[in-house]
C-alpha cells in the first residue's frame, strides 16, 4: 500500500489532523514528565534510611519546671531525669532497647555541621548531620556496623544542649568515610568537627544512615551522618525505642504510662496531628506525604489524560469513517479487501500520531528543561521519552481500531447507492 492516497486524504482534513497531532504532542509531553516525576518520587519514598525500621517508635517530650540554665547543676539535674527516663523505657517488658536521640532520619529536625581534615579549615570537607545518643543508639537504630566498633557505656558523655565540646570519638557513615578518606581506611583517623581545634577519632563506620532532613537544602549530604556518644540535656528530650517483635502497640501504650509514673512533670502531646509517641512508620509516611501525594496525582492525571486522548481519537476517526462511508464502499467494490480498509485507517493514524509524537518529543524535553530551571528538577533520561512515544503510538492504534473495523465492515454495495 502506498502512502500517497492517505496523505492526499489528510490534506483535506487539515484541522482534524492538526488537532489530533496537537493532542498527542501535548499528551506525550505531560505524560513523559509526569511518569518521570512519579518515578523519582517513588525512588525517594522507597530509599531505606539505614535503620531497621520495624518495631521502632519515637517519644518526644517537654519537661515542666525543669532547670533551664546552662550551669553544671542544671545540666546534671536534666541528665539525671534523662537517664531515669531511658532506664524506665528499657525496663518495660515489651521493649528491646531504648536510647536518647536528638533527631532521627526523616523528621526534619537537623543539627548540621562541617567536617574537616584540618583544624579551622576555611571550607569544611563535607557537611554532615549529627546524631547524639547514648551507647544503645546504634543497636536501637539497628545500624549495620561495617568497620571499627560501636560505642560503649564508657564512651558516653553528657552535655548541655548549647555546649560545644564534642567528644573525642565518633562513628560516621560509609558515605562520609569514603568522602573524607577515599582509600577506605577511615577507622582510627582524626577529623575536625565544625570549628574545633582538637580532633575527633573515627572509631567505627556504619553502612548507611540518612540525615533528618528530606528537604532540598540537604540533598548534597543525604548520606553524610556523624554519630556522637553524647546525651544532650535540654528542656525537651527524644527517645528512640525498639519494641520486641510484634509488641509495638503494647510497648507504645506502656511507655506513656511508665514515663508519667516516673515523673508527671512533663508534656507528651497526644493529639492526632502531633502525637508525642509515634511509630517510625508513621514518621516515614508523614515525611513523604507530599511525595506520595504527588505520585498519586500524577498517576491519576496520566490515566485520565490517556483516556481523554484515546476517546478524542475514537471520536474524530468515527467522524471521518462516517464522512468517507461512500468512498470506502467504492474502494471495496473496486476490490479492496477488508484488511486494506483497516490498514488504511491504522496507517493514517500512525502517520498523524507519529507527527504528533515528534512535536511531543520537543515539547517534552522543553517542559523538562523548564522544570529543571524553575523547580530544580533533574534531567529526564531519553528512555522516558521513548517509552512515552511508544505509549502514545500504541494508544492511537488501540483507539483507531474500533472505528477502523467499522469502516472495514462497510459493504461494497454502498457504492451503488446515492446517499
Amino acid at each position: 500500500m502506498t502512502l500517497h492516497p492517505i496523505l492526499a486524504a489528510l490534506r483535506r482534513h487539515k484541522a482534524g489532523v492538526v488537532l489530533i497531532a496537537l493532542q498527542i504532542a501535548l499528551t506525550l509531553a505531560i505524560v513523559c514528565n509526569a511518569i518521570f516525576i512519579i518515578g523519582q518520587r517513588v525512588q525517594r519514598i522507597q530509599r531505606p534510611t539505614g535503620m531497621d525500621e520495624n518495631n521502632l517508635f519515637m517519644v518526644t517530650q517537654l519537661w515542666v519546671g525543669a532547670p533551664t540554665g546552662d550551669d553544671r547543676a542544671s545540666i546534671d539535674k536534666l541528665d539525671a531525669m534523662l537517664r531515669t527516663d531511658v532506664a524506665t523505657l528499657r525496663n518495660l517488658p515489651d521493649v528491646e532497647s531504648a536510647s536518647t536521640v536528638n533527631s532521627l532520619p526523616l523528621i526534619n529536625s537537623s543539627w548540621v555541621n562541617g567536617v574537616g581534615l584540618k583544624p579551622k579549615q576555611e571550607h569544611s570537607t563535607a557537611s554532615a548531620a549529627f546524631y547524639f545518643g547514648d551507647e544503645q543508639m546504634l543497636h536501637t537504630m539497628g545500624l549495620q556496623l561495617v568497620a571499627g566498633r560501636a560505642f560503649t557505656s564508657a564512651d558516653t558523655q553528657n552535655r548541655g544542649f548549647r555546649d560545644k565540646d564534642d567528644p573525642s570519638i565518633i562513628i560516621v557513615t560509609k558515605a562520609l568515610a569514603d568522602k573524607l578518606f577515599p582509600k577506605g581506611d577511615a577507622v582510627g583517623k582524626s577529623v575536625y568537627l565544625s570549628d574545633n581545634t582538637s580532633p575527633a577519632t573515627i572509631v567505627g563506620v556504619v553502612a548507611r544512615l540518612q540525615v533528618p532532613s528530606v528537604q532540598s537544602w540537604a540533598k548534597e549530604f543525604v548520606w553524610y551522618s556523624v554519630l556522637e556518644p553524647v546525651r544532650l540535656d535540654a528542656t525537651f528530650s527524644r527517645y528512640l525505642v525498639r519494641a520486641k517483635p510484634g509488641r509495638l502497640d503494647a510497648a507504645m501504650k506502656s511507655a506513656r504510662a511508665a514515663l508519667f509514673a516516673a515523673n508527671p512533670m512533663r508534656v507528651i502531646d497526644d493529639s492526632a496531628e502531633q502525637n508525642g509517641i509515634r511509630t517510625f512508620a508513621d514518621l516515614r509516611a508523614n515525611a513523604y506525604k507530599a511525595d506520595r501525594g504527588m505520585a498519586i496525582l500524577m498517576s491519576v492525571i496520566c490515566v485520565i489524560l490517556l483516556a481523554v486522548t484515546g476517546a478524542g481519537i475514537v471520536g474524530l476517526t468515527s467522524f471521518w469513517v462516517g464522512q468517507r462511508h461512500k468512498q470506502i464502499g467504492v474502494r471495496r467494490a473496486l476490490g479492496a479487501r477488508k484488511i486494506d480498509i483497516l490498514r488504511y485507517f491504522q496507517t493514517e493514524n500512525l502517520l498523524i500520531a507519529g507527527g504528533g509524537a515528534i512535536g511531543g518529543i520537543i515539547l517534552a524535553v522543553g517542559l523538562n528543561l523548564w522544570l529543571i530551571q524553575r523547580y530544580e528538577m533533574d534531567r529526564m533520561p531519553v528512555l522516558y521519552v521513548l517509552a512515552g512515544v511508544a505509549v502514545v503510538l500504541a494508544l492511537g492504534q488501540a483507539a483507531v481500531f474500533a472505528p477502523a473495523r467499522r469502516a472495514a465492515n462497510v459493504p461494497p454495495v454502498v457504492a451503488t447507492r446515492t446517499v
Binding site: A15, G16, L19, I20, L22, Q23, L26, T27, I30, N33, A34, I37, L62, W63, V64, G65, T68, G69, D70, E122, H123, G160, F161, R162, D163, K164, D165, S194, D195, P264, M265, R266, V267, D269, E273, K289, A290, R292, G293, M294, I296, L297, M298, I301, I304, L305, V308, T309, A311, G312, G315, L316, S318, F319, W320, G322, Q323, L371, Y375, V419
Partner: protein, 437 residues
C-alpha cells in the same frame, strides 16, 4: 431566540449521546483538575496582610561574610547583636523583633496536666504593626517592653482552652515555669502564610497560643523554637551570653515604613550600620543588606510549596489537552451537520445566526461539563489531604468564588474552543450542500 437555540442545542446533543458525554466528561475532568489544584494554590499563595504587605519590611544584614553567606544573600534572620542594634537605632515608625517559642503552660493551678503551648516573643509594636485584633484588653507598650514586664497576650483559641473563653484579662497564667499577667486576648488571628516567622517554620501552622515580651523572654533565656543557624566566625556558643554574642542567627526583625522616602531612608540606615560594623572591624566585608517587603519576602522564601505550583501547572496542561480534544469533537459534530447548515443558510439564516446557534450548543456542553467539574472539584478538594500536609490541605475549600469560577471557566473555555469549529460551520456554502444532497 435564545430559548430556541438552547432547545436546538439540547436536541442536537441528544442525537449523539456518546459524543456529547465524551465532551462533557473531558471538560468536567479538565476543569476539576485545574480547580482542585487552584484551590490549594490560592490558599498557599494568598497575601496574608493585603492592606499592609507593601509597608512591612524585614531587614537582612550579612553577618556571615561572603565566604559563608547564602551564595551572596545575607542570612535569613538576624543575630542578637545586629537585632538589638536595629531596635536601639529605632529608624522606623514601628519595629519589632520576634522569634517562636515553645513552652509548657499551666492555667492557674487547678492541678491539671501541663500542656505544650507555642507562641512568639515579640515587642509591643507587634500588635499594631500586624493589625492583631483584640477581643479583650490590649497589647503592651514600649514602657512594658523596657520594664521587661511579665505580661502575656493569649490567642482566642488558647483562651477558650484555658479559661473557657471568659475575659481573662488581669488573670495569671504560668508559662514555662513563670507567672504572666494576661493583658489581652486576641481575636482569631492567623495570617497565612505566616510571613513574619518563616525561619524554621513552614508558614502554615495553627495560630499561636500566646505572645510574650521579647525582652522578658531574653531575661528568662528562652531559646528559639524555630531555626538557629550558626556560620561565619563561630565563637563559643555555650552559655546564654556567649550564645547571644555569637554569629548564630535566629531573630526575625520587622519594621513598618509608610512611604518610599522612609524605605529609602531605612535602606541607607542599614547600609550605614553595616559600614560602621565594617569600620569597627566586626565585618571584614562591604555592607551587604536587604530590605524586603512581605510580598518580596514570601517570594524569596519560596513559601508556596513546589508541589502546589507543579500540580497547578500539570492541571493547566491537562485542561489544555481536554480543550484541544473538545475542539476536535465539536469540529466533527458541527461539520457532520453541513447539510443542515446549508438548508438554514438557504432559508435566510445569516452567518451570525449560525454562530449563535453553534456557540450556544458549545455553551450548553460547557455548562454540563462545569456542573460535572463542580462535583468532581468538591470530591477532589476533600481529598486534597492525600496530596498535601494537613495544615495546607485544611486551607483548601470550596466557596462561592470557586463554584462561580469553575462554571465560568468551563463555559468560557468551551465557547472559546468552539470558535474554530463554529467558524468552519459558518463557512459552509449553502448552494453546494443543497446540490449534492
Amino acid at each position: 431566540m435564545f430559548a430556541y437555540y438552547f432547545n436546538l442545542a439540547l436536541r442536537s446533543l441528544g442525537r449523539n449521546p456518546a459524543l456529547t458525554t465524551l465532551m462533557v466528561i473531558a471538560i468536567g475532568f479538565g476543569v476539576a483538575a485545574s480547580m482542585i489544584t487552584y484551590s490549594v494554590f490560592r490558599a498557599v499563595s494568598g497575601n496574608p496582610i493585603p492592606d499592609k504587605s507593601s509597608r512591612l519590611f524585614t531587614p537582612q544584614i550579612d553577618s556571615w561574610g561572603p565566604r559563608q553567606n547564602l551564595q551572596g544573600e545575607p542570612p535569613e534572620a538576624l543575630d542578637y547583636v545586629d537585632a538589638m542594634a536595629l531596635m536601639r537605632a529605632h529608624a522606623a515608625k514601628r519595629q519589632t523583633l520576634l522569634y517562636p517559642v515553645s513552652l509548657p503552660a499551666l492555667p492557674d493551678g487547678n492541678g491539671s496536666l501541663p500542656i505544650r503551648a507555642t507562641g512568639y516573643a515579640v515587642y509591643g509594636d507587634f500588635f499594631p504593626m500586624f493589625e492583631v485584633p483584640f477581643r479583650y484588653g490590649n497589647g503592651w507598650d514600649a514602657g512594658q517592653d523596657n520594664a521587661r514586664a511579665e505580661v502575656v497576650v493569649l490567642s482566642e483559641e488558647f483562651n477558650r482552652k484555658q479559661f473557657g473563653g471568659a475575659n481573662s484579662v488581669g488573670r495569671e497564667i504560668e508559662i514555662g515555669g513563670h507567672e504572666y499577667r494576661i493583658v489581652g486576648v486576641a481575636q482569631h488571628w492567623n495570617p497565612l502564610p505566616r510571613f513574619f516567622s518563616l525561619f524554621g517554620e513552614s508558614g502554615f501552622g495553627e495560630s499561636a497560643d500566646f505572645y510574650i515580651p521579647f525582652t522578658r523572654a531574653l531575661d528568662l533565656q528562652v531559646y528559639t523554637n524555630g531555626n538557629n543557624s550558626c556560620r561565619g566566625k563561630v565563637n563559643d556558643t555555650s552559655g546564654w551570653d556567649n550564645y547571644l554574642h555569637s554569629n548564630c542567627v535566629w531573630i526575625n526583625p520587622w519594621v513598618e515604613l509608610d512611604n518610599a522616602a522612609d524605605v529609602a531612608h531605612y535602606r541607607s540606615f542599614l547600609e550605614g550600620y553595616a559600614a560602621d560594623q565594617q569600620r569597627s572591624g566586626r565585618f571584614a566585608w562591604a555592607p551587604n543588606v536587604r530590605l524586603r517587603n512581605v510580598t518580596q519576602w514570601l517570594e524569596y522564601q519560596k513559601v508556596v510549596p513546589p508541589e502546589s505550583r507543579i500540580s497547578l501547572l500539570v492541571s493547566m496542561g491537562f485542561l489544555a489537552i481536554c480543550l484541544v480534544n473538545t475542539i476536535g469533537l465539536l469540529l466533527a459534530k458541527f461539520l457532520r451537520r453541513a447539510g443542515e447548515i446549508g438548508v438554514r443558510r438557504a432559508l435566510g439564516a445569516s452567518r451570525r445566526e449560525i454562530y449563535m446557534q453553534f456557540l450556544m450548543e458549545a455553551a450548553v456542553v460547557g455548562l454540563a461539563g462545569g456542573v460535572l467539574g463542580l462535583l468532581l472539584t468538591a470530591t477532589g478538594v476533600s481529598g486534597v489531604g492525600l496530596l498535601f500536609k494537613p495544615q495546607i490541605a485544611r486551607l483548601a475549600h470550596v466557596d462561592f468564588t470557586l463554584v462561580a469560577l469553575t462554571l465560568a471557566l468551563a463555559v468560557l473555555a468551551t465557547v472559546l474552543a468552539a470558535f474554530y469549529p463554529t467558524w468552519r460551520a459558518a463557512q459552509v456554502q449553502p448552494a453546494w450542500h443543497l446540490k449534492t444532497n
